[in-house]
């Protein structure tokens, strides 16, 4: 029982040590004058994939993303049912296959609906 906690304590110690060391490395290097200290506005600005940033970081996202997210969420979550079925496919047999096809038909109809209604177009 107590030995279990020793493992946890060791892990905890290792985690703390790792964090402290990684924090200390740049400070030490700077202190030893191995890395130069020469800040400019260009250096201090955020850098993302070689593109210059425009505006603030806190922006409202376009409503369009939300529609994609909804369509994705619904279809994604339904996949949860596919895994248990796939594992047991032999055991469930033809009935299971038909039931799964019914589920997929309904999802497909939903997809066609979203498509026809223009939810997938970027207007």
């Amino acid at each position: 029982m107590a030995t279990d906690y020793i493992y946890i304590a060791l892990f905890l110690l290792a985690a703390i040590l790792f964090v402290v060391t990684t924090l200390l490395i740049p400070v030490t290097l700077r202190f030893l004058k191995i890395i130069p200290h020469n800040p400019t506005p260009v250096k201090g600005s955020p850098f993302e994939c070689g593109v210059e940033t425009i505006g603030k970081t806190w922006v409202q996202f376009n409503l369009r993303y939300y529609l994609y997210a909804l369509v994705f969420l619904i279809i994604d979550v339904l996949v949860v049912f596919l895994y248990p079925w796939a594992v047991n496919i032999r055991h469930l047999g033809l009935t299971g296959l038909i039931e799964m096809l019914i589920l997929l038909t309904i999802v497909t109809v939903g997809y066609i609906y979203a498509w026809k209604k223009g939810a997938l177009e970027w207007k």
């Binding site: 009935t95 038909t105 109809v109 066609i112 609906y113 209604k117």
Partner: protein
Amino acid sequence: MNLQLFIPELTLAIFAIAVILLDLFVQRKGVLAGVSVAGLVISAGFTLTMWGSEPQTIFNNMLAVDSFALFFKLLFTGIAILVILASVDYASKLTNLQGEYYALVLLSVLGMMLMAAATELISIYVALGLTSLSLCALVGFLKDSKSSEAALKYFLLSAMVSAVLLFGMALVFGVTGETQLSKIAQVIQAMPLTNITDNPALVLGVVLLIVGFGFKIAAVPFHMWVPDVYEGAPTPITAYLSVGSKAAGFAVILRIFSSAFGLPEWLSLNWGMLFAVLAAISMTLGNVVALPQTNIKRMLGYSSIAQAGYLMVGLATVGILPTADVLGQSAILFFLASYTVTNLGAFIAIIAISNKTNSDLIQDFSGMIRRAPGLALALTLCLVSLIGMPPAAGFMAKFYIFSAGVHSGLLWLVIIAVLNSVISAYYYLRVVKVMWFGEPTSTEKVFSSGALRFSLFITSIGVLLLGILPGLVMKLTEAASKMLAFLP
């Protein structure tokens, strides 16, 4: 497995999908209402052919196909047909969203049918989710500020309550290790318990289940959503909510509480008493707050809280006299049938009138008897039935349920209920007085479409038929209630 027993539900699902697809590819939107009504009629037809056969279960005991479920399936398809006919005038306002409207109505009927048939916690939860989500979307269908406010209120509260309900289900599952109602009953009866304090987790689970379904049936103190949602929702959907969602809630409560928690006595006596107290509070609060209302939809909202109170007298009876006979169950089913035709009739008349006047205020119904004699007469009949006066259906329903209450020794509750009926007469009759003796605000006649008049005619006939010849339906309700004792 026997898939043909699932045909009524499958038909509805297929028609719901067909309506969505048709809406995408067909320009004339008028056909959609026809297709949905056809789907409901076919589904009801399949349900009728199963009536009277041996009770069976499908999907590994997840759904029962017995007279109890079939009774409710017929009730729900009937409700939906009338609601769709009544909303033909209304849906033309929705222009490009008609397909979704009808499809959502079909899907919510499907959810309610599954609720009535479910004999397992998982299927109950999924059916409940299907019903309440489609209803949420329907409540907010008008997209104006009142309607979307109603939808937000309904959605937030129903999501919260469904989480509470789930916690109750988790506790019941944890204590008994089963999700099937009949097996839960076996495990509970085998437990060596004699008192309510012996197993707090189980009791907490049962109470949380009551909270969850109490919200569905609009019982006080879980009623706060009712007036706002009824006022804001499109009127056909208000009618639908007030009868459909309530009936589905009672179906599930009856199924769970008479099969899973029906015995032993230490449990059933206590939940019976809890329902009795909730019944007394619901009727009193509903009726008293309905008195000063000026909006008729809001007034009927409070009135539906009061009616839920009368219905819960039946539930209390079921808990206190669990094995004696099926008087309580049968009385609830009869009351639900009569409440359905009555309330639908009232709402259909209101739809017709407010389509013309563009207002739901009671004062605008003034002198309606001269502007629209048929509508006013039908509305009067329905309001009289809601009070519970003969010869309307409401009288027989109340008589039946109150006599069940007296039979199980709940005389105090029945006295409160009768006093409440007297209070309720005041606000129902006020509308009647305004319609018959008020001065008309204009001389213009109120016209309504054929579909709407047809559905109003059907409901009025139903109100009179159930009031004058109640024996026919009572036979059905008794046959349906006997099935509750059957455990899959």
